[in-house]
Each structure stands twice: as structure tokens, then as C-alpha cells.
């Protein structure tokens, strides 16, 4: 689903062919990216259909089968409460996708709007917005997350907020530099001469033209958000027990019983790496396809 949407948008940027042939071209020219996209789609489907696919209830404890090693009954073994590791990884995919997409979407979108606004108004407004962004850039990310979680408590919405806030200034920086070039183009002057309001020019005329960097940021932030969520959950600042989340699965007992039950520490980490790997693979190829500077080379 995500693949289609993004590649279809890519057509708008390059402006040729139907989106189906674009998808075909993308797969042929960038096999690595296509593999990444397939894994991403699988990941999303697994997240959506977790309740159908998972062999066990991710929260069901089975004290008779604590820390049992991978077997036919439990493909990836069980954890310290006898919960099925595979089922928890499958449900964890739901958490990861939710956090990943929400953070990347809000982070990149709010950032892009701020960046374009800053470039459009230029002068004092630009300087002021840039200084505020500088402050957030210099502010240590983990402290921001710690503070958000201490004030609002743990839970998925707060984790999304804690991860999104530091993403905004980074996205704003990128969007601003692309928008600076657009600002000088005749159609923006034309829109201004036509007497359109600032808001309309920014949202309808300038924002759609920073679509390429926006999509690149979006895919890059997806992977980063999943990694950050894992780190925060691992520290106990993210999603809280008993929700199934990959970072959370690596915490506590996984380290404590690492020698006796290494599957508890290995598989969730592999799930994180694979998911982020696929997003990056796809994002890289998308960047190559969308960046006109790289295209001519």
C-alpha cells in the first residue's frame, strides 16, 4: 500500500508514464529497493493481521513452559513468563509500524510546513523560526524524551510525541532549504500578484513542490522512529508492559537470562533490524529515483 502511494507520487514529480509502469521501472532499475518495499509491505500486513497470524495470544502466560527453547510448539521459544516469542514479535510489529508511521508522518509534515513557512516569509520571521529550531536541534534528544515521559507518563501516544518533537526541526531544516529555491520561481510571484493569502500560497503552491525531499524524509524517519521507540522501550521510557513491543522484549529478563535463553534477546533484535533495514533499502532507492541530481549521473 505504502509502496504504491509513494511511487505514484514519484510519478507526479517526474511527470511521465502511468504509475503501474513506474512501479515496474522502479523494480527493474532498483532491485534492492524493490526487495525493501516487499519486506515493508509484508511487515505492514503482519502488523495489521497480527490477531490472525499469531499462533498464541501475546499476553497469555504459560508457567509450565517458561524459557523453553525454540521447538515445533513455540517456533522462537518462550520468555520468562512462558509467553510465545514469535507471537509477541508479530504483535510487536503492530506497535513498531504504528509508532513508525505516526512519528514519520507528523514529524516530516509539521517540519515541512514550518520549513516552507520560514522560507516563504524570509527575513525576521525566518531568523526567529531558525533560532527556535536551533534550540531544539541542540537539545539532547533523550532528555526531551525523558521529560515528555516523566510529565505525561508512558504509553504509545506519549512515545509518539517524544519521538516526533525532535524530528520536527530536522525536517524543517531540509524543507526550508528546498523551499528557498522555490520561493524565487515565477509561479510564487504570480500567486502573490493574484492576491492569494499567505496560507494558500504556502499550502497549495509551495508545499506540493517540496514533495520529493518530503517523501525522502518520510521513509528515512520511519526507520529512525522504530529504532528510537526500541531504545526508549528498552530504557523503560516507551511502551509499557505487557504490550508487545520489540524494544521492550529485549529488556529485563531477556538480558538477565541471556545465557540460558538467548532466543529472547536475539529474535526481537533481528525483527527490529530487518524492519529498519527494509525501510532504509526502500528509502535509499526512492531517494536515488527522486533526486534529479543523482538521476543524470
Amino acid at each position: 500500500m505504502a509502496t504504491r502511494a509513494t511511487v505514484a507520487d514519484a510519478r507526479d514529480v517526474s511527470g511521465r508514464g502511468s504509475w503501474l509502469s513506474e512501479v515496474g521501472d522502479f523494480c527493474r532499475q532498483r532491485p534492492l529497493g524493490a526487495i525493501g518495499a516487499v519486506v515493508v509491505v509484508i511487515n505492514i500486513l503482519v502488523g495489521l493481521g497480527a490477531n490472525v497470524i499469531a499462533p498464541y495470544d501475546p499476553l497469555a502466560t504459560d508457567y509450565g513452559a517458561m524459557l523453553s527453547s525454540p521447538s515445533a510448539g513455540h517456533w522462537l521459544g518462550t520468555d520468562a513468563f512462558g509467553r510465545d516469542v514469535l507471537s509477541r514479535i508479530i504483535y510487536g510489529s503492530r506497535t513498531a509500524m504504528l509508532v513508525g508511521f505516526a512519528c514519520a508522518f507528523f514529524g516530516a509534515t509539521v517540519g515541512a510546513v514550518i520549513g516552507v513557512t520560514s522560507a516563504y516569509f524570509a527575513g525576521r520571521v525566518d531568523l526567529l523560526i531558525q533560532r527556535v529550531m536551533d534550540i531544539f536541534l541542540a537539545f539532547p534528544l533523550i532528555i526531551l524524551a525523558l521529560a515528555v515521559v516523566s510529565i505525561l507518563g508512558t504509553g504509545i501516544t506519549n512515545v509518539i510525541m517524544a519521538i516526533t518533537i525532535p524530528m520536527i526541526p530536522r525536517a524543517a531544516l531540509v524543507a526550508r532549504s528546498s523551499a528557498l529555491a522555490i520561493r524565487e520561481l515565477p509561479y510564487v510571484d504570480a500567486a502573490r500578484a493574484a492576491g492569494f493569502r499567505h496560507r494558500r500560497i504556502i499550502l497549495r503552491h509551495m508545499l506540493p513542490n517540496v514533495m520529493a525531499p518530503y517523501l525522502i524524509m518520510l521513509t528515512a524517519y520511519l526507520g529512525q522512529a522504530i529504532l528510537l521507540e526500541a531504545s526508549l522501550s528498552f530504557l523503560g521510557l516507551g511502551v509499557s508492559e505487557p504490550t508487545a513491543a520489540w524494544g521492550l522484549m529485549l529488556r529485563g529478563a531477556a538480558v538477565q537470562f541471556a545465557e540460558a535463553a538467548p532466543w529472547m534477546a536475539i529474535f526481537p533484535g533481528l525483527a527490529i533490524s530487518l524492519a529498519v533495514f527494509a525501510f532504509n533499502l526502500f528509502g535509499d532507492s526512492l531517494r536515488d529515483a527522486l533526486d534529479p541530481r543523482l538521476k543524470t549521473q
Binding site: 537539545f139 532528555i143 525523558l146 527490529i272 533495514f277 549521473q297
Partner: protein
């Protein structure tokens, strides 16, 4: 040039001031304060009088603007005060932790550079061959693997295969270099891999760009050795963006290794961060945030200056 430097230095002040305001109020919005936390451990019914007395001793009863002003005046004189929790001077609290974090950051940088530059150059030279694909997959995997998980895997491997664990207590390098290395090489490797991935990708793309320049073709046409072209003409010009990402990553490592430090049980700055926030040690947290923000801003500034100095095409106004 001097005008530009002065302007950039002056622009640092509002940013740092903003960071100071943000952390000062953020910490005070977080529920609970150090006095409550400390007395909570002693008895369930701490006397309100005692709490107030302690708050007065720490200066927490004064109006917020006064507290902020005192803190700012201290910073201007480079006096960061004492930790609210331990009572020790903050400089002392930070010094030992910073040594560890700094050493780890330096080691990770060495590992990253040693991996990134040769691999990045090779990938660029062999663009779109299997060598390029392998290097790119290796680097994307580096970005995708959480460093803290890689650390857990290292510990597991050492434990299961070699029945050995790295030392748990930090020994400063100047006391016993061997013990020190045995402990720190593993986190350095775990962090260095991700770090090298960032630098490797930058090396590759910068090299690709430079190799298409006219002066490289001229050098080839002159019949110069490939080796000489690479080292003197290509690499030298491709290094600027690589240096930038290395510098920025280094700044991040100084305060951002919270999770990896947790895995390896290292008492670095990251761990101190978590402890100080958990204890609501306002003074210590504030000082740490200012330190990390300053390092970040300063590194950015240095990078920009480096650009102007090394690349004569760039001139700042």
C-alpha cells in the same frame, strides 16, 4: 572572515540561552522534586517542616526567576554549582564520567573511520558492481541494527563461545590500559559499526561526485597513477562532507549513548543523564544539558569554519 566568526559566535548566545530556559522550566514541570524523592525513601510521613527546610537549603523556595537568574549568573562565571543530590561540585561529578564517554567516542571514531573510508572509496570506484552492493548492504544494515542490541549480542557471544565476560568496573586508561581496552572495545565496536555506516555512505556519495569532476579526467588524461589520482585529487576533495558527518556524530556520542551504556554497565555521561533526571537533580541535569548543547553547537561552528578554510570556493558573508 573575522566578521563571520564573530557573527556566528554571537548567534550561539541566543541558542544557548533558549536551551537554558527550556531545560530549566522543563525540569520544573516534571512532577515531584528532589526533596520529596529523598524523603520518600526514609519514611512515609515525612514532616512537612523538614521538607520545607530542605527546600530552603537548596534554594527551591525562592521565586523561579530568582533561581534562574542565580543559575545564569553562575554559568557566566563558569560556576555550575553543586549537585543537589550528592552535594559535590558538578565539575567533579561530570569529570570522571566525561573521561569515559570521551574515550569511548574517540575509540568508536577510530573504528568508524578505519572501516568507512576504505570501504566507501572502494564502493564508489566499483559503483553498481557486486562489491558496491555488498558494501551498501553492509552499511544499510549498520544503520538498521540498534547499537544496544549489537552490544547484547556481543556479550552473549563472549559468554557462550568463550565463557568470558568483559570487566564490569571501569579502569582509567592511564592506570591499566589493557583492562581498560578489554572493557571498552566492545561498546566501541557496537557503536562504531553504526557510526561507520553513516560515514561510509557519505564517503561513497562524495567520492562518486568528485570522480565525475573535470580535474579527475584531466589527471587521468595526463596518465597519472590511479593511486595518486585517488589520494591527492579525489579523496582530498571528497573528505569535507565526510569530516562533517564524523564531527556531528562525535558530538552526538558525547551525550547520546544512554542505552549502550546501560547494556555494558558503563558509568558515562548518558547514565548520569538518566540518574540525574530520575533524582530530579535540577542543577546536575541543567549542567549536563548545557554541556551537550554547547558541544553540539561548537562542533557545528567548527565544521562551518573548516569548510571556509579548506574549500576556497566557499566564502561567508
Amino acid at each position: 572572515m573575522i566578521k563571520y566568526i564573530v557573527k556566528r559566535l554571537l548567534l550561539m548566545i541566543p541558542t544557548l540561552l533558549g536551551v537554558a530556559v527550556l531545560i530549566f522550566f522543563l525540569m520544573r514541570v516534571v512532577p515531584g522534586d528532589i526533596v520529596e524523592l529523598r524523603f520518600a525513601g526514609e519514611s512515609a510521613f515525612a514532616q512537612k517542616e523538614n521538607l520545607d527546610k530542605e527546600r530552603a537549603r537548596l534554594g527551591l523556595d525562592r521565586p523561579l526567576w530568582q533561581q534562574f537568574l542565580t543559575w545564569m549568573l553562575g554559568i557566566v562565571r563558569l560556576d555550575f554549582g553543586t549537585s543537589m543530590w550528592t552535594g559535590a561540585p558538578i565539575i567533579e561529578e561530570i569529570k570522571l564520567r566525561a573521561t569515559l564517554s570521551f574515550q569511548l567516542a574517540v575509540m568508536a571514531t577510530f573504528i568508524a573511520v578505519a572501516l568507512a573510508i576504505p570501504l566507501g572509496v572502494v564502493a564508489a570506484l566499483k559503483q553498481d558492481t557486486w562489491v558496491d552492493y555488498v558494501v551498501r548492504i553492509f552499511s544499510i544494515a549498520g544503520l538498521a541494527t540498534p547499537s544496544f542490541w549489537l552490544g547484547i549480542v556481543f556479550i552473549l557471544m563472549l559468554l557462550i563461545v568463550f565463557k568470558w565476560l568483559p570487566p564490569m568496573v571501569y579502569t582509567p586508561f592511564w592506570i591499566d590500559p589493557w583492562q581498560n581496552m578489554l572493557q571498552l572495545i566492545w561498546p566501541a565496536l557496537a557503536v562504531g559499526y553504526r557510526y561507520s555506516a553513516v560515514a561510509m555512505r557519505m564517503t561513497r556519495s562524495a567520492m562518486l561526485e568528485v570522480l565525475r569532476e573535470d580535474y579527475i579526467r584531466t589527471a587521468r588524461a595526463k596518465g597519472l597513477w590511479q593511486k595518486l589520482i585517488l589520494s591527492r585529487h579525489a579523496l582530498k576533495n571528497a573528505m569535507l562532507p565526510v569530516l562533517t558527518v564524523i564531527a556531528l556524530e562525535f558530538a552526538f556520542l558525547m551525550g547520546g549513548l544512554v542505552v549502550t551504556e546501560q547494556v555494558f554497565n558503563l558509568n558515562g555521561l548518558g547514565m548520569l543523564f538518566v540518574e540525574s533526571v530520575a533524582r530530579r537533580d535540577y542543577t546536575l541535569t541543567q549542567a549536563l544539558v548545557m554541556l551537550v548543547a554547547f558541544v553540539f553547537i561548537f562542533v557545528n561552528f567548527t565544521v562551518d569554519l573548516m569548510y571556509a578554510w579548506l574549500d576556497p570556493r566557499i566564502r561567508f558573508r
